[in-house]
Amino acid sequence: MSENLLEIRDLHVTYRTDDDEIYALNGVDLAVKKGETLGLVGETGAGKTTMALSIMRLLPDRVGFIRQGEIMLEGVNLARATDADMRLLRGNDVSMIFQDPMTSLNPIHTVGRQIAEVLILHNPSASRDEIELKVDEMMETVGIPADRKAEYPHQFSGGMKQRIIIAIALSCNPKLLLADEPTTALDVTIQAQVLNMMGELKEKFGASMILITHDLGVVAQICDSVAIMYAGEIIEAGTAEDIFEGKSHHPYTIGLFGAIPDMTKKTRRLNPIDGLMPDPSTLPPGCRFFERCPSKDGDCGAHRPGMAPVSGTHRIKCRMFAPQPGGMRE
């Protein structure tokens, strides 16, 4: 087994607003192996993006705080790293692809200059020619002719802009790539092209990747392991086989799958999960999914379930799978 590149232990993140404290992450444990692609799945407000921003240490200043926990990247605790250390790490060791290719490029600089910016920052000794050569190489790597590097973002289509962002993210050979919904804003045919390219590049550069998405289809295509988030917690985690083919699942995972229209069979009605995610400023005391859960019993509202293993790699946070006091297990 390959060792872990990233290990997150008991991470708590909150956002402070004028009158409330928003509990965005509540005790997250997560590990990413070398060369692995982890799919982080969840709905709006589950804490997926907060997770990525915590790893990058890009939580909004004076609003978002890491309250507790460790983010270990090859023995360095990012949660405690200084700003100066982080500036060296960002782009070099960890880099991020943001969701919206339309807004994450600077409209008044050429794309070539935007790729060069990262390279110059991390290779201060490199000559101008070396940088230009590397820019050309990165553009060709993501499938854009290098002679377009003097053009501005608005001259490119959405799919090409996302390729340029990927080129920027990969230009310093990061060990860990965080991709926050990288294809959500793209059309399906372009999404397929970009996903395919990301998979190939990840192999080529030997990087690990955390792919944040709400689309279980995308996860099934390219991820090795999967973690499902709900209300700031990971409620189910395992290999792709565990999640997509395993027999036992968290009731929320079952609900997520039930809500996707199945292309292979004809169903008259979808089976959505009733209700909404709890308000992150006042989380319920017991299981966070309690109110919406179809298989709850009386005690679920009072006791916080822990993460329990169902098989070797497959873990679920639900009382149905927790070892019972009398040694009974369902």
Binding site: S157, Q191, A220, E241, A259, I260, K266
Partner: protein, 315 residues
């Protein structure tokens, strides 16, 4: 079943500094009463323009639109007002399609006030509560503002507003694409229930093929302003004939591992709809393109009953 809505050789061109943009080009379609036509395509293929043309919110450059057998392009504005009561639209983005300065009840009541649908303020308020019940919005939200509600509830307001005048036909322009899957499923179920109860006819515009399969009777696949394939739903998914439809189906990531494969990826990107060359517009990306594809006059051809394809391979 007879068609409630029909379009014949419908065209919309926009003048741009660089030439004529063919947003919708010679589209024919018909939607039976109580049925759903799904319109699928990628961004920029003209599907939203088509929806607005059918409602005559945009004036077509050419063609005919028949609503209940009547050519609405020949109707005067006063006649249109009566027809518009029977056709409504639900927009994509429940965040920008609701006026942030109006309360839920004002938003739902607005079409009734504009159309002078009910005589008194009390009747209108009663109808607002009735509609909120129909779309599953609790009465306590009646005086809240849209920003206080989540996306799913906001889209329910959009549905209630569209239903206010008892329409027969609703254009749904990507009504669920801004929502999370579990909320998306709630809204889709609601729309299908409403269709059954009220006999509504939908034109359902989306880029999501799994959604369109779930809700539609017939599907039109659009590419650069043209309808390239039109068929009933099961046939389209079992036997897609146009290379674009095949590529589109291949590109959907499906949520199971057995479908994990080197996807058959379509190369290239959508070309410009400005001053398109004659012949098939998909040809530059088509894996099966041949010199014949440059010929003008490739149009929809019925290859099996109810299944139309516009491709040189089937001419």
């Amino acid at each position: 079943m007879s068609a409630l809505v029909e379009a014949r050789r419908l065209k919309k061109y926009f003048e741009t500094p660089r030439g004529l943009l063919h947003a919708v080009d010679d589209v024919d379609l018909s939607i039976g009463a109580g049925e759903t036509l799904g319109v699928v395509g990628e961004s920029g293929c003209g599907k939203s323009t088509l929806g607005r043309l059918i409602l005559r919110l945009l004036e077509p450059t050419g063609g005919e639109i028949l609503f209940d057998g009547r050519d609405i392009l020949k109707c005067k504005r006063s006649e249109m007002k009566a027809i518009w009561k029977q056709m409504q639209i639900i927009f994509q983005d429940p965040f920008s399609s609701l006026n942030p300065r109006m309360t839920v009840s004002e938003i739902i009541a607005e079409p009734m006030k504009v159309a002078r649908f009910l005589p008194t303020q009390n009747d209108i308020l009663e109808r607002v509560f009735e509609l909120m019940g129909i779309v599953g919005l609790a009465e306590r939200f009646v005086n809240t503002y849209p920003h206080e509600l989540d996306g799913g509830r906001r889209q329910r307001i959009g549905v209630a507003r569209a239903l206010a005048l008892n329409p027969r036909f609703i254009v749904c322009d990507e009504p669920v694409s801004a929502l999370d899957v579990s909320i998306q499923a709630q809204i889709l179920n609601l729309m299908m229930d409403l269709q059954e109860e009220m006999g509504l006819t939908y034109m359902f515009i989306t880029h999501d093929l799994s959604v369109v399969k779930h809700i539609s009777n017939n599907i039109a696949v659009m590419y650069l302003g043209q309808c390239v394939e039109l068929s009933w739903t099961d046939e389209l998914f079992e036997n897609p004939c146009h290379p674009y439809t095949q590529g589109l189906l291949d590109a959907i990531p499906s949520p199971n591992l057995s479908s994990r494969k080197q996807l058959n990826i379509m190369k290239g990107e959508v070309t410009s709809p400005i001053n398109p060359k004659p012949g098939c517009r998909f040809a530059p990306r088509c894996p099966k393109a041949s010199p014949g594809c440059q010929e003008p006059g490739i149009g929809l051809k019925e290859i099996r009953q109810g299944h139309f394809v516009s491709c040189y391979l089937y001419m």
